[in-house]
């Protein structure tokens, strides 16, 4: 066993942290308060090469391996980039662009990947519906073939990047009677007649990511926008889980490191009863618990990434365990961080307040903790 990163990976991580601290983090607070997506930061992520890090260079990517790609997510969290932007990046790169990259035709890849990798286009994925969350088979959005076109009808819900996306990978039933096997995936471009997005939902956290409903009313798309074959959609959606349980969890690991530094810094400077509060054992214990969470979570996330690099099929048990641990246990460090900061921690000025709200999504998004427990208990 070897838990080390290569020298190049560590240098890349440090470089990304420096970049993010300088170019992105200074605008986080303002955008979070306004609930606005930070287009400039997103564009800068593209310029730095993050949005297409794992795609081949000929498609505008960086050709990185999975571990390095996941490390980028950790670095963003460690730098203090907000959960909204890292979520937007995740939905864009892994849920949308990667699905096109893995399952698209050469023409589809050439058309969409370079723009998505550079950030010139923003992507999203439309899977969840108002009445179909983890129970994907109960989705009601349909895609009816009419000659050389498909007619999409239905609504998608809680779609990250929904209101701002140029490209959407949308799942719909082409043969509703086949349940999972009747689901297909399509590329839908912004401006397509019959396709619209609802207004951004006002959320508890990850406020800089825009989330909305997607509405399809007799939305006509060319048949060439089908991804892969009819009926392959469910498997495509499941394949995104590999990224969801690694690259999308990594910012929470990085965020624990960020919280630890912030809390330690505050505890050293805040004086009560004649001494810095960091000298009280109760504060040290909280700092310890934040560190312990981050260290425990790290290996779970990188195990998924490393196995993907080895070309192994996703181990669904290990993936669900990673998601359950990071999701459920990541709440406690954010709670402790707010408590260490006392009244200040409850105020927006101190970003532990934002991280507390952002983290609440971890046990919900991408399959709730209860769903993970269902998966684990069925597989054990």
């Amino acid at each position: 066993m070897d838990f080390d990163f290569t020298k190049e990976q560590l240098m890349f991580k440090q470089e990304l942290i420096r970049f993010a601290k300088k170019e992105i983090v200074p605008r986080v607070q303002e955008h979070d308060l306004k609930g606005e997506f930070d287009f400039e930061s997103f564009k800068k992520l593209g310029e730095f090469g993050i949005l297409g890090l794992h795609f081949p260079e000929e498609l505008g990517g960086g050709g990185a391996d999975v571990v390095t790609t996941v490390l980028a997510g950790e670095a963003l969290g460690e730098a203090g980039v907000d959960g909204g932007l890292t979520l937007a990046y995740g939905a864009h790169t892994f849920l949308c662009a990667d699905t096109i990259f893995r399952h698209g035709t050469e023409a589809q890849k050439q058309k969409f990947i370079p723009k998505l990798a550079s950030g010139k286009s923003i992507g999203c994925m439309g899977l969840t519906e108002p009445n179909a969350g983890s129970d994907v088979a109960s989705m009601t959005t349909t895609a009816e073939k009419k000659g050389d076109r498909y007619l999409l009808n239905g609504n998608k819900m809680f779609i990250t990047n929904g209101p701002i996306a140029d490209v959407a990978v949308v799942y719909a039933k082409t043969q509703p009677e086949l349940q999972h096997a009747g689901i297909s995936a399509f590329i839908v471009e912004k401006g397509t007649k019959g396709f619209s997005a609802g207004p951004p939902l006002i959320k508890m956290g990850v406020r800089t990511s825009h989330t909305s409903e997607l509405i399809f009313q007799n939305c006509e798309i060319p048949a060439e926008n089908l991804l892969g074959k009819e009926g392959d959609g469910f498997l495509m959606a499941m394949q995104t889980v590999e990224w969801d349980r690694s690259a999308l969890l990594a910012p929470f690991v990085g965020s624990a490191t960020y919280l630890l530094k912030k809390c330690a810094q505050y505890a050293k400077g805040r004086v009560q009863f004649g001494r810095p509060i960091g000298q009280f054992q109760a504060i040290k214990h909280k700092l310890a618990d934040i560190r312990i969470f981050g260290e425990a979570a790290r290996s779970l996330v990188y195990r998924i990434a490393w196995c993907k690099d080895q070309g192994r099929p996703l181990n669904h048990l290990e993936a669900a365990i990673a998601k359950l641990y990071v999701g459920d246990w990541s709440m406690s460090p954010t709670f402790d961080a707010v408590l260490i900061h006392g009244g200040y921690g409850y105020c927006h000025e101190y970003d532990v307040e934002r991280i507390f709200r952002d983290s609440r999504l971890a046990p919900i998004g991408g399959g709730t903790s209860d769903i993970q427990k269902m998966i684990i208990s069925k597989l054990m």
Partner: protein, 376 residues
């Protein structure tokens, strides 16, 4: 990065598992055997010696797997019997490592070879009035008198205290930390009564009194310039407790899982109820997270990572607390059956507490981790 054990390491795990299975047979390995002076543990040492288990972490050789495999191997032995595990570990991984790391050639020949050969049993006497040695100076002292050292002091909570052939006694000489190796028959070594403990039913634990106990000068390791040797000892002890926690969790989880799949109520196996299934899912999550954490800190120690000590504290807190939680959940699932003496979960639940108070206690470990975060 590599998350796999090698074929050689996997073979070692199989050999250890087979050796323990053969030894356990139909009997429990947790019964006290005060009259047999550690007969069970001596049998285990002989069986384990046929694998490279006793040498893990102690002998540096290309044919001996490293510390990650040591953790994996510890989990296996602990899952069979926590008492046997701790007894073997104190002899090989703690006593053995003291000699292999700090001892000279003669000392290694005299004590290390028989211990790693499974022929002799070692013990380490660290604790005094209280279990932790972090806050109070060591009161046990050695006084030089010609070529003889006279040791005086009282040690407590000594595992293998009544059964060991050799005991490494921590103390000071000329105000500097040192370790005295005391053989069983040494004049002035007075074993205390066996201590009755909450868990570890089959373990020999006692106090030791050293009343001007006489050893030769060549039987002293050290003196050391500072406490770093004792800190290293604590880290090794913490590694042992981490490995032990993995075994407890594994045994409890497997016991609860089997029961949940076979015990029926309301016309279906109880695993079909989400309350039970979800508990098992949380238990497995804690077990796998602990395993990876343990392997990672073992790797860090082997790589001589500068954060190795604090990382070990992190894993020790996490794994020992997880062990209590997992065994507690297992008890809940096993219901009345789990509450009966001798059940794997009941036994692990009683043993789990020890992991939190021994070594670097959970509270002191958290203070150390906090200090590291503060740069203190």
């Amino acid at each position: 990065m590599n998350f796999d054990f090698t074929q050689q390491e996997q073979k070692l795990f199989k050999d250890i598992n087979d050796a323990m299975l053969e030894m356990a047979g139909e009997r429990t390995l947790e019964e006290k055997d005060p009259g047999n002076a550690g007969k069970t543990v001596r049998e285990a040492l002989i069986r384990l010696e046929k694998t490279s288990y006793l040498k893990l972490g102690t002998v540096q050789d290309k044919d001996i797997p490293g510390l990650c495999a040591m953790m994996g191997a510890m989990e296996i032995v602990s899952s069979f019997s926590q008492s046997l595990y701790l007894s073997v570990e104190m002899s090989t991984r703690l006593f053995g490592r003291i000699i292999s790391t700090f001892g000279n050639k003669e000392q290694k020949n005299k004590w290390l070879s028989p211990v790693l050969g499974g022929k002799k049993l070692g013990a380490v006497a660290l604790s005094e009035k209280s279990m932790n040695i972090d806050n109070d100076p060591m009161a046990t002292t050695g006084v030089r008198e010609n070529a003889v050292i006279k040791i005086s002091g009282t040690k407590n909570y000594v595992i293998n205290g009544l059964t060991a052939d050799f005991t490494a006694v921590a103390g000071t000489i000329e105000s500097k930390p040192a370790i005295f190796i005391v053989e069983k028959e040494a004049t002035g070594l007075i074993p205390g009564k066996p201590l009755v403990t909450m868990g570890y039913d089959g373990l020999s634990v006692s106090g030791l009194t050293l009343d001007e106990c006489r050893i030769k000068e060549c039987d002293v390791i050290g003196p050391f310039e500072d406490n770093s040797a004792f800190n290293t000892l604590k880290m090794w002890e913490n590694q042992i407790l981490v490995g032990g926690s993995l075994g407890m969790m594994k045994a409890s989880f497997e016991s609860a899982k089997t029961y949940a799949k076979t015990h029926r109520t309301g016309g279906k196996p109880i695993i079909a109820y989400q309350e039970v299934a979800f508990k098992l899912a949380e238990m497995l999550t804690l077990l796998q997270t602990s395993q990876l954490f343990a392997y990672r800190v073992a790797w860090a120690a082997e790589a001589k990572n500068r954060e190795s000590e604090v990382l070990t504290c992190c894993a020790k807190v996490f794994c020992t607390e997880a062990a209590e939680r997992v065994s507690g959940s297992a008890l809940q699932i096993l219901s009345g059956e789990g509450y009966l003496s001798g059940n794997a979960a009941e036994r692990a639940y009683r043993c789990a507490k020890y992991g939190q108070i021994a070594g670097t206690s959970t509270e002191i470990a958290r203070v150390k981790i906090g200090n590291a975060a503060l740069g203190a």
